[in-house]
């Protein structure tokens, strides 16, 4: 079962990611991104990272994407005009594509652990909220605190940048 899941999701992911990059309409791109994120959440499930799958759906597909769409609507972003001539872009597509064809198959050979196969349920866990939480509040507690500060900064930032102009 797992290979089928994987391949289906993998193909879907790649297609939607390409869609994200390729569609000229930002709304379409955003939708593609949502699809990508959700599919990735599904992959997380196949990887037994249930909590993260949930977070992925809620935070990304939910919050972040809403933010994106909100901004798109707010700014009324139009379709991107075609660039002429597109040769530069073609060159880059070829380069990156070539890099992918050339480099990606080699990835597996780079890591000694890459050939490892695990079947469903053989994971050592760590996917649960409880375990993550334990780690977050013990070993990684300073980072958790730091993340908090980070979010504070981001909040302040958004408030500062998007507040109403006092004079206008």
């Amino acid at each position: 079962m797992e290979p089928i899941f994987f391949w289906v999701l993998a193909v879907g992911l790649v297609v939607s990611a390409i869609g994200l990059v390729a569609f000229r309409n930002p709304v379409t791109s955003a939708v593609c991104l949502v699809v990508t994120l959700v599919m990735e959440a599904a992959l997380f499930v196949t990887l037994e990272a249930y909590f993260l799958a949930v977070v992925q759906v809620i935070v990304y597909a939910g919050a972040v994407m809403v933010l994106f769409l909100f901004v798109i609507m707010l700014l009324d972003v139009k379709e991107e005009a075609r660039q002429r001539p597109p040769w530069a872009k073609v060159v880059w597509v070829v380069a990156i594509g070539g890099g992918a064809v050339f480099g990606v198959p080699r990835i597996a050979s780079l890591f000694p652990a890459a050939a490892k196969t695990l079947h469903w349920g053989q994971g050592k866990g760590g996917g649960s909220a409880a375990e993550l939480g334990r780690l977050l509040f013990s070993s990684y507690s300073p980072l958790f605190l730091a993340t908090g500060v980070l979010l504070l900064v981001a909040t302040v930032g958004v408030v500062v940048l998007c507040r109403k102009d006092p004079e206008s």
């Binding site: 880059w92 890099g99 480099g103 080699r106 050979s109 780079l110």
Partner: protein, 602 residues
């Protein structure tokens, strides 16, 4: 302390020069007095030295330290041998007379102080050459003589020609000194000493060879420059731009013969190499003739005398080259008297004619300046070697030495013929006939300051032949006269008068026109075209290379390249964030590619 007394001879003129330069400059009369007295002091000192030491043997004073360091000695000591003493007396004596003469000659010149300071400097330097006991010291004074000559030739600073002549004199001398210093260095390397006293023994100890020849030739280069021998003779005629007393003292009587003096000093080295000696002899031999020829077509009274000087010095050089320094010194002495006399007379003429130097614009001066005419004729006869005047005796001694080399005898006697010719030409044109212009018509004798020295010199010219120069200088006496040289030379000299009398008896303009002679065989032009122009062309080329290629292209170019590459690199910075991202990603790819190429990633 008394041992240092001989230095007074040297230092008096120096002190005079320095004190004039520093303090007495604004007071010409005091300057003149000081300078003249200093020269007199030197003269008296030299005479004293001459008399004192002839009874007491050689006098040497303790050396004055200059550099004595790390095995190298270049101190200054006085050489008290008869040659030096005699020469010192001669130099200071003539110089004193010229001082006196100058008082009269330059009575209206506002810069008299400077003149006398420079004259004193010259006396100092010249006495230094004479008294120096080693080559380095001699070279030092050699250079200082060059400087004083330069200053005196260029005395009339506002005359462009004077400046050019002064430069030429100095530079040509410098070229000679180039060889001289190399010769000195070579001598030092070969013989390990530069002291004249040690030289004979050291030289005898070393085997002759090409090195000795080279050293000898190098040293003789100094003579070629200072004594104006071929090929460095071109400066002397031009130096006549200086005031006439200068020409008389420096460029006739004393300075120019320093080369001969120096050759005699280093004769032990020269004698080691037959090549050197022959070279010197032949240069001298040819130089007796060439200037004599040139002088036949010159119109400037001083230039005529200058060429004659060249010719006469060449006799001395030839004599040295023939290995007979005695006659050379003998002729040097007599020449000093009569040539100085001739120049002073010429100065008197020029002075009388209000700075006119062209003989064709004079004429009839014999009547208006009888004394000058008389001494000129006396000098001429001495110069031409007519007995019993002094020149006859000394020239005869030199001719005698050529008896064994017919070639040299032929050229030098031919020179005698032309000497007679052009001297008579000069006398006839300048003193004979009728005045050609107002200046000549109102010519007059100069003051007593001018005539007295001439009178003294005239007496010396007549009696100078009697001076026992060779004996006194302890040169080995030359063997008995070979009569044929005596008679032939005399005959040739007398023969020279005939055509001159024929051509110039009543001439108002030159009946002969020989451009090659008038233009001095085009040597100056040759030098100008070949050496100076080439050198200047190279100089301009070098400068252009430096300016355009080195400074302009290489140096500025590297700046431009740096700036341009800066501008180029800026173009990446186009402001497009996507381009930046692309560069970033390119960087990552490059990094990965590097790792891959290193073989760490497969």
């Amino acid at each position: 302390m008394i041992a240092y007394a001989p230095y007074l001879i040297l230092l008096l003129p120096l002190l005079a020069a320095v004190s004039i330069r520093l303090f007495l400059y604004p007071f010409p009369r005091i300057s003149i007095t000081v300078s003249t007295l200093a020269c007199l002091g030197s003269f008296l000192g030299s005479i004293g030295l001459l008399l004192f030491s002839s009874s007491m043997g050689e006098v040497t004073a303790p050396a004055l330290p200059w550099i004595e360091w790390a095995g190298f000695r270049a101190n200054f000591g006085i050489l008290g041998d008869p040659l030096a003493r005699g020469m010192a007396a001669l130099v200071s004596g003539v110089a004193f007379l010229v001082h006196i003469y100058s008082i009269g000659y330059l009575e209206k010149e506002p810069c008299r102080s400077r003149f006398f300071a420079e004259l004193s400097l010259f006396v100092f330097s010249m006495l230094g050459i004479v008294l120096a006991d080693n080559l380095i010291s001699m070279f030092i004074f050699w250079e200082l003589v060059g400087l004083s000559s330069y200053l005196l030739i260029g005395f009339w600073v506002e005359r462009p020609a004077a400046g050019a002549a002064a430069n030429k004199a100095f530079l040509v001398n410098r070229i000679g000194d180039f060889g001289f210093i190399l010769g000195i260095l070579g001598a030092w390397a070969l013989f390990g000493t530069l002291s004249f006293a040690d030289l004979p023994s050291r030289v005898a100890a070393s085997a002759p060879g090409w090195a000795v020849t080279a050293v000898g030739l190098g040293l003789s280069c100094g003579c070629l420059g200072k004594s104006a021998q071929f090929p460095l003779h071109v400066w002397l005629p031009d130096s006549m731009e200086g005031p006439t007393p200068v020409s008389s003292l420096l460029h006739a009587a004393t300075m120019v013969v320093a080369g001969v003096y120096m050759l005699i000093r280093v004769l032990p080295i020269l004698e080691m190499s037959q090549v050197t000696m022959m070279t010197i002899a032949w240069i001298g031999g040819l130089m007796t003739l060439l200037p004599a020829l040139i002088a036949c077509q010159q119109n400037d009274i001083k230039r005529i005398l200058a060429y004659s000087t060249l010719s006469e010095i060449a006799y001395m050089v030839m004599a040295v080259g023939l290995g007979v320094p005695g006659p050379a010194m003998y002729h040097l002495t007599t020449h000093a008297f009569f040539k100085c006399l001739l120049f002073l007379a010429a100065g008197s003429v020029i002075h009388g004619c209000h700075e006119e130097q062209d003989i064709w614009k004079m004429g009839g001066l014999g009547k208006r300046m009888p004394f000058t005419a008389l001494v000129t004729i006396l000098g001429t006869l001495a110069l031409c070697g007519i007995p019993p005047l002094s020149g006859f005796w000394s020239k005869d001694a030199i001719f005698a030495a050529t008896a064994h080399s017919p070639g040299l005898a032929a050229v030098s006697m031919a020179a005698g013929f032309f000497t007679s010719f052009f001297m008579l030409r000069m006398i006839l044109v300048a003193f004979g006939g009728t005045p050609k212009n107002d200046a000549a018509r109102h010519a007059h004798e100069g003051s007593i300051f001018m005539t007295a020295p001439m009178a003294i010199l005239a007496i010396l010219t007549i009696l100078g032949g009697l001076l026992p120069v060779e004996t006194y200088l302890h040169f080995p006496h030359t063997e008995g006269h070979e009569p044929w040289t005596l008679w032939v030379s005399l005959a040739v000299a007398l023969a020279g008068f005939v055509p001159a009398y024929h051509f110039y008896r009543h001439a108002t303009q030159d009946p002969l026109s020989l451009p090659a002679l008038r233009e001095k065989f085009y040597v100056d032009e040759f030098y100008q075209r070949v050496f100076i122009s080439t050198q200047d062309a190279f100089a301009r080329l070098t400068d252009a290379f430096e300016g355009w290629v080195v400074r302009g292209f290489l140096v500025r170019g590297s700046g431009v390249v740096a700036r341009a590459s800066g501008q180029g690199l800026r173009l990446v910075q186009c402001g497009q964030v996507q381009v930046y991202a692309a560069v970033f990603i390119l960087g990552v790819f490059l990094l990965i590619a590097w790792l891959w190429r290193q073989g760490v990633i497969r």
